[in-house]
């Protein structure tokens, strides 16, 4: 073989020790840190993302017609349905860059529309929108808010915590001075969504003023939903693992399947340990990450096992350790390259995204690294031990005889029956030789 052979199996004890240590870290942190940091998906409650943003523009409309306002990236657009028919007016932030300019432009645009700049110098590009847009304007003022641009003066997380009391969990989202907070309330009293949201709004507006609170996102999960989600998630993981196991069993021998499943369980628990250790929030996207990693890590293991299976009848002069070393080395560049491309693709998401998707991306990156490690070092070692125990996979004279028997009478397989697909394949390969 042209490729260099790495002594993979030599590291088997180091690999197992490392895995054991990492698993232990996971278990210890689970008990030390008090279990999972459950998201509201799994633990009924209420979560809102709120931005404290100064009021920038105030708009009222006193005319008879219908004026609908929308904001997108600081560009203000109006749809006016009046005596002139339906008109569409656009006020790009590029042209009207400050609140003063925008207010002036809006004032002249439609009769009866009055716009007041509450913070005249505020840049329009910082305009943010929460719920309620597009909005139909009327004589009660519509307030548009702009993100806080004052870098020296902003509300800190501690101030927010003291306003909301100890029961609320508060987190800062993105840049601190933008004053975006993720606030979570447990719902122990079984309150309704509107009660919780009213209560939070009252707390916030009492402190920061009604007009400067922009609700960016709001999630409410009732107790019933979270309990069905837990059982649903467990079902998903179990069904997926069972089906995958069946497939490998069908395509490979049992020894491969066992080694693969142990590797997979190992990867899953390492990932769970990582989530627990870093107190990452467990939500339904975590389940998605877990399952994707299960699929992905198996993907790696299968490529390697496939190589071992393929090499076994060809390299009969090697010991089982040499066989494994050769096979892993042959597929090493593929495993590394594929893992790298996946990390390349997912890493930007871990950096640029926020919230659940960012967590998903972080978990995926970790999972891929773990997968690359376990499929190259751990899985081959496990396979070696399992097949040694079973004594049916070592290239002993008996095994050699088995290989020779295949083309002659493939149905009389002595040890473990080779699945149909593989049988066809080995037959084909034999012919080629």
């Amino acid at each position: 073989m042209a490729k260099k052979t790495y002594p993979i199996t030599k590291f088997r004890f180091i690999a197992v020790t490392l895995s054991a240590i990492l698993l232990a870290v996971g278990i210890i942190s689970y008990f030390a840190l008090g279990g999972f940091n459950l998201g509201i998906d799994f633990q009924s409650g209420f979560s809102q993302r709120v931005q404290i943003a100064p009021a920038t523009l105030s708009l009222t409309y006193s005319g008879e017609d219908t004026v609908t306002l929308d904001v997108s990236n600081g560009d203000v657009s109006l749809i006016v349905r009046d005596g002139m028919g339906s008109r569409y007016l656009e006020f790009p932030a590029a042209t009207y860059s400050t609140a003063d300019q925008m207010a002036e432009a809006l004032n002249g645009a439609v009769e009866g529309l009055s716009a007041v700049a509450l913070d005249g110098s505020a840049p329009m590009t910082s305009l943010i929108t929460g719920f309620g847009l597009p909005a139909t304007l009327d004589d009660s003022a519509l307030i548009l808010n702009g993100a806080n641009t004052d870098t020296s003066n902003y509300i800190t997380i501690d101030e927010m915590r003291s306003v909301l009391g100890s029961e609320a969990q508060v987190q800062i989202v993105s840049d601190e001075k933008l004053q975006i907070f993720q606030i979570r309330l447990a719902n122990e009293d079984g309150l309704l969504e509107d009660e919780l949201s009213d209560q939070l709004f009252a707390d916030l507006s009492g402190e920061f003023g009604e007009d400067s609170i922009v609700i960016l996102q709001s999630d409410f999960v009732g107790p019933k939903y979270s309990s069905t989600l837990v059982s649903g998630s467990i079902l998903i993981v179990v069904v997926a693992i069972a089906l995958i196991l069946l497939y490998i069993w069908f395509r490979f021998k049992l020894a491969y399947a066992l080694a693969a499943i142990i590797t997979l369980v190992h990867d899953t628990f390492l990932l769970i340990g990582f989530i627990v250790l870093l107190r990452l929030e467990v939500s339904s996207t975590t389940i998605a990450a877990l399952l994707t990693i299960i699929g992905y890590s198996l993907n790696n293991v299968i490529v390697i096992f496939d190589r071992i299976r393929e090499n076994r009848p060809l390299l009969t002069d090697l010991t089982v350790m040499e066989l494994i070393d050769t096979s892993v080395s042959q597929s090493l560049s593929r495993t590394l390259f594929s893992s790298l491309t996946t990390v390349f693709a997912i890493l930007p998401l871990a950096i640029f995204a926020s919230g659940a998707i960012q967590l998903f991306a972080i978990e995926m990156v970790f999972g891929i690294v773990v997968g690359a490690y376990s499929s190259n070092l751990l899985a081959p070692a496990l396979f070696m031990w399992i097949s040694k125990d079973k004594k049916d996979d070592s290239p002993s004279p008996a095994a050699k005889a088995e290989v020779k028997e295949i083309p002659a009478s493939p149905k009389e397989n002595v040890e473990v029956p080779i699945p149909t697909a593989e049988r066809k394949l080995s037959g084909k390969r034999k012919k080629k030789k």
Binding site: P134, E193, F220, L229, V239, S284, G295, R334, T341, I357
Partner: protein, 574 residues
Amino acid sequence: MKKRGRLVVVLLVAVVCGIFLYPTVRWYAFVPQETKDLATGSMIQIREYAQGQASRGLRELKDMFYEDPDTDVPDEYSFLIDVAKDNYKNMKSDVPKTWTLENLFRGFYTEKDLFDTIENEYRTELIDLKTLSGRILQLGLDLRGGMSILLEADVAAYEEKHSESASSSEVAELISEDIAILNERIDQFGVSEPNIRKQGSDQILIEIPGAADPERVNSFLKGKGSLTFQIVDEELTSELNTYFAANPSEIYSDSGQLMQPDFLPAGKIATAYYVNDEYGLDELASYVVLDEEIGLDGIHITNASVGTNAITAQPTVNFELDSEGGELFYKLTSTHTGERMAVVQDGKVKAMATITEGIRNNVQITGFDQDEASDLSVTLKTAALPIELIVVSQQAVGASLGEDTVEAGLIAILVGLALVFIFMIVIYKGSGIYADIALLFNLVILISVLSAFNLTLTLTSIAGLVLTVGMAVDANVIILERIKEELSLGKSAESSVKAGFAKAFWTIMDANVTTIIAALVLSQLGSGSIKGFANTLAVGIVSSMFNALFVVKLMYDASLSGKNPRLSISWRKK
């Protein structure tokens, strides 16, 4: 398969993708935002808009006609000429050579006819676009802003109220009735049209794109103010109908609202009387003037049914009121005996009946045929849901957060794509370019399949998309590594490629099937947001296998079979 045959298959896939993608591209690139807003609104809004535009158009044409009847028909109304031509032919008169306004007006039987033609033009355009919007790749609520609410039947409250237990099939039926009622109430929702779906046997999922206003949603769920009883003013009603018949362009304002003529005194409002038309929409029958004061709010109705009058055998509509409603209704009916009372839903008159006596709790209305009676009983039932609903979960996302997410997602996809692109070329040189082309084609297939199946693009499906970008080149990597090995054994380029593909085939199959299994389980058993991710991943992997084993193979075969066969797979000198 022969090369040409495979090329045909690849081209066919490309064409099918193009067909699938066309509506999406057209919608996002060529339809102006204003029209999008209108077309995604409810049918009611579309009708209001079309009627408003028709009123405006008719008025404009009339003004121009009074000024100078010989003015040419403006370009924007040229569609009227075709209709007028047909009308001339039908009337067996000569089609005029020049199209002045006078000739155009002569081409229509009545002013109403002209109005209808203009309305039809606007409506058809929007309805076509609405149909288009149903066939495109939609952004999920988490990306464009909006609200989704999962509601569940409050079985306990129902059983307590009716003091009997409800079986699960009964609950499922009640939930279906609830959905029918909520759909009736959609009209009052304004800017955007909510999507109401049954989920499982006892849950309802409501998705409202755009304005996520919890207060409006609450009133929508409670149905308050959607159904009222008001007293009819006969004298003004006949006056109004005469007036509107004489002035069809004065009926609707440009926003499609019924105009309130000046002769109506304060406290009286003009409304339209609707019956259901064949489109399932309300069709205008006539106009009615009502007392603005609401006699009774429909939330007091506890039950409604269709019956038969024992003596006259006429169909009747019976409904019951709660005690407070009974008091109010008695006051209303006893002071207005002999007058007509209108059942008003969302500002539109649905039925009218003469009050014969003061009535308290059990009300019987007659004077309809069987169909009208059952329609009315449905309308009355819409005042209260047959089974109350509790909020199981509620998610709302403001539009600007959605915009930011889309932006971050796009950046992530582009950066990831760029990194993978560069990596493949650095490692595999020319073959890397093949893999990159396959990767792009893979994204096109993926997005077109998502549009074809009307799947929405959510936050999680962006994650699936990103992951697919990374994993899609995996199959290529497996093949290329194999080819490299074969080459290093001293085989020729062509046989190395052949052997590389052959040996990699089952490896790729085995490796990807496991991921597909995981994705399929997720998409079948996962909750809403997870489904999007799983679907994207599953489709992405299947199409990446197609690309690696079929499209890339074709590229190699083409480049190796020419006069100057070359295989570029590494920067290293051999």
